[in-house]
């Protein structure tokens, strides 16, 4: 019965879509399903080859990125002292938008598949790392005690207990990775690959080819969703259940003294600069395009360059902010509304979980087509990117309000509305702020992507231009600046989070 309703719904949707497209003849905005189907058929061979190329790169990146995440997680568990530092590095790397690392990788790798695969790996390692760490740490003391009684220590616990206990969590990470690796591979293709869906998307966007843009969006979204669904199925088959987890970097201890924090930060910055310098020196790459920290410093010391980069940065941040706020606000608001109307929530939340998996790259061109190349289009892309993860996380947060508390409120005759405000919203705050932190890099990725593809503004455009001007100092400076800005904003959001959670949800801070 439910299947029948779903199929009927899809059919109705397609018919409505077709009519909308026919109703606006010659529109550059909407292509009807029949036109898209025809177009795909006529270009079938081309699209198959492109889809294959992108899938292979995404697949390789998926494997490498997840392997890296597993190795990193294991090191952090076996050598707990390394955890703070490693997670700071992992977070910093995660804060660099892929669209910024893309051109750098292209410069370093030259032509070929390297950047696509690396970007796909970069797109997946962080979520898997977070999910896996939750799983590896979610081991009861009884089990670690049990291992200790036999004189067996961390490595045995890892082997006998943690490895298996964390499998369901690993699958959560892998599932989210699947569409993300697709996104990474496509961004890699934007930076000047020979083939792949990203190359065709770029061409379709530039040529204002409506049908091709739709066709590519649908193809790439379907492949990503299929991989998502497949891994979900595999996970349920192999480990039986899917745990609900908040995918967000844990907050550091807030009580640590200020000087320690400053010292730690200085150490991390110094280490990153050193790694940058040393890796360039060791790999022996040409200094003409493989710039060092010193080059960037000298370049930015010139006030003209600095002014260019900073004005681009402020443009980028300015166009990211409305979408960031709208995405977060709407996501949280809808999550709350769905609690007030639970039957609606049962329908909407699974849809949101599925839509969260659609890589932004596939929908961004369509959204830009629909909403224009101005601030509205940008805002919509950023908001959409953030909206679904926020909705899902806040929805899960709201549902985790202890049942007894809700019942207690009800027993005093409190209305649904009062229960929401007094009991459930505070319970949602940790999920909300976790989303707000994770949304910082996401928003920057979305906005720079739109700038790169369509609006011709901000850091995205500045980086895109260096491909033709060969101004590599500019490219590296842009990446350094955006990484710095992303980390700083992330830290600010984290600080606000601590302040507010300390008041409203002190038991959630451990």
């Amino acid at each position: 019965m439910i299947w029948f309703v779903r199929v009927l719904g899809i059919c109705l949707f397609l018919v409505a879509w077709e009519f909308a497209a026919r109703g606006v003849p010659g529109s550059v905005l909407i292509a009807g399903p029949s036109e898209i189907a025809e177009h795909i058929q006529s270009e079938f061979a081309l699209y198959t080859r492109a889809a294959f190329a992108t899938s292979v790169n995404a697949g390789l990146g998926f494997v490498f990125g997840n392997l890296a995440a597993i190795v990193l997680a294991v090191i952090m568990i076996v050598v707990p002292k390394s955890a703070r530092l490693l997670s700071a590095f992992a977070l910093l790397l995660f804060c660099i938008p892929l669209i910024a690392s893309g051109p750098i990788l292209r410069v370093l790798f030259g032509p070929g598949e390297g950047p696509q695969i690396t970007l796909a790996a970069l797109a997946v390692y962080y979520t898997t790392l977070l999910a896996l760490l939750v799983g590896l740490r979610a081991v009861s003391q009884n089990w670690t005690d049990f291992m200790a009684v036999y004189g067996r220590h961390p490595l045995s616990t890892l082997r006998y207990v943690r490895a298996r206990a964390s499998l369901p969590y690993l699958f959560v990470g892998l599932q989210i990775s699947a569409p993300a690796s697709f996104l990474g591979a496509m961004i890699g293709e934007f930076t000047g690959a020979e083939r792949g869906l990203g190359v065709l998307t770029l061409r379709a966007m530039r040529g204002l080819e409506t049908e091709a843009t739709w066709a590519l969006a649908i193809i790439s979204a379907s492949i990503a969703m299929m991989a998502y669904a497949l891994l979900g199925l595999l996970g349920r088959r192999l480990v039986g259940y899917t745990p609900v987890i908040l995918l967000s970097a844990p907050q550091g201890q807030p009580t640590q003294n200020l000087w320690m924090r400053v010292a730690e930060m200085a150490f991390i910055v110094g280490a990153v600069l050193a790694i940058w310098q040393i890796s360039m020196d060791v790999s022996g790459l040409n200094r003409f395009f493989a710039k060092r920290p010193g080059d960037v410093f000298v370049f930015l010391a010139e006030s003209e360059n600095l002014a260019t980069v900073l004005s681009a940065l402020s443009e980028t941040l300015g166009s990211a902010l409305p979408g960031y706020l709208a995405g977060l606000g709407l996501g949280a608001a809808l999550a709350a509304a769905l609690i007030l109307a639970p039957s609606l929530g049962q329908v909407a939340l699974p849809v949101a979980v599925a839509l969260r998996a659609v890589p932004i790259i596939t929908t961004a061109p369509l959204l830009v087509l629909a909403f224009g190349r101005g601030i509205v289009g940008t805002t919509v892309v950023v908001a959409v990117m953030i909206f679904f993860p926020t909705l899902v996380a806040c929805g899960q947060g709201l549902r985790q309000t202890p049942g007894q508390i809700v019942e207690l409120f009800r027993s005093y005759g409190a209305s649904k509305w009062q229960t929401l405000i007094k009991a459930q919203l505070p319970a949602m705050l940790p999920a909300f702020f976790a989303s707000a932190r994770m949304a910082v890099p996401a928003a920057l990725l979305a906005v720079t992507t739109v700038e790169w593809l369509a609006t011709g503004q901000g850091l995205g455009m500045l980086m895109a231009m260096t491909a033709s001007t060969s101004n590599y100092n500019m490219l590296w400076s842009c990446v350094a600046v955006i990484a710095l800005a992303a980390s700083a904003i992330y830290a600010c959001v984290a600080m606000i989070e601590r302040r507010i959670l300390r008041v409203y949800a002190s038991e959630q801070l451990s």
Partner: protein, 250 residues
């Protein structure tokens, strides 16, 4: 081979604001079974955790023969059955029990005999989630016995086991450790069980735990139904109850 003696010398253990164990001196004789009884929350589990080396004393020393707990653990000569069975949910009963031998690096040839002995014969290939609480506890007991430890720590091992099975286990299991000369520390809430299974009973005071009375049960008397029905048995039980009550009042 007879298990080593367990020796507590003036041990103190604090957790934040509560002192769980203080001025605790006691000897658990080599190859004997010593029962610990006392009010709940007095620190019995803490004493077992100190023996297992899961936590260290703040003051004083805990020795197992000439060694410290960690050394015995490393040899695979320690085993415990805690209140919480903590079986691995993805392993079957058989492989959970075999894990005890595997971790202690001992042969696991008598796994199936033990499964029969604890009455889990038909459940060897089931997973813990399919068992009742009492059955899980019995699997945990079997797991603690499979490595033939020199020191065996049992923390209310029969707490969730039904009365009939408990009575049967009380007769069937003790020979396994008695005959091998294992040094056993047994925490139990049942005074009768303490008198039945142990060679000595240490009655502990309310928190912080120290030894109120050290009562030797009938040495050399077979632990059968005649013993259970005897006057000695009743007298011993009464003495323990008395000691517990003085402790509670004082």
């Amino acid at each position: 081979m007879v298990g080593p003696e367990i020796h507590f010398e003036n041990v103190k253990k604090r957790f934040d604001s509560v002192t769980a164990v203080e001025a605790f001196s006691a000897t658990f004789k080599a190859g004997q079974t010593t029962a610990l009884v006392g009010p709940s929350g007095c620190g019995k589990s803490t004493v077992l955790r100190l023996i297992a080396g899961l936590t260290g004393p703040d003051e004083g020393t805990v020795r197992l023969g000439s060694e410290v707990p960690a050394q015995v653990a490393r040899r695979g000569a320690l085993a415990v059955a805690f209140q919480d069975p903590s079986l691995l949910p993805w392993r079957t009963v058989r492989s959970n029990i075999a894990l005890g031998a595997e971790l202690a690096r001992k042969p696991s040839d008598h796994v199936d005999t033990l499964i029969e002995l604890v009455g889990l014969g038909g459940f060897a290939d089931h997973r813990p989630a399919e068992l009742s609480g009492g059955m899980r506890q019995r699997a945990a007991i079997a797991r603690s016995l499979v490595s033939q430890p020199e020191i065996l720590l049992l923390d209310e091992p029969f707490g969730a086991v039904d009365a009939i099975t408990r009575r049967r286990l009380n007769t069937d299991l003790p020979p396994l450790w008695r005959d091998r000369g294992t040094t056993v520390a047994l925490v139990t809430h049942s005074v009768e069980e303490a008198v039945l299974l142990s060679d000595r009973v240490l009655v502990l005071s309310d928190r912080p735990a120290s030894v109120l009375a050290d009562i030797a049960t009938a040495p050399g008397v077979p632990r059968d139904s005649a013993y259970r029905a005897s006057d000695t048995f009743r007298e011993l039980s009464d003495r323990i109850f008395e000691a517990l009550e003085t402790g509670a009042v004082g």
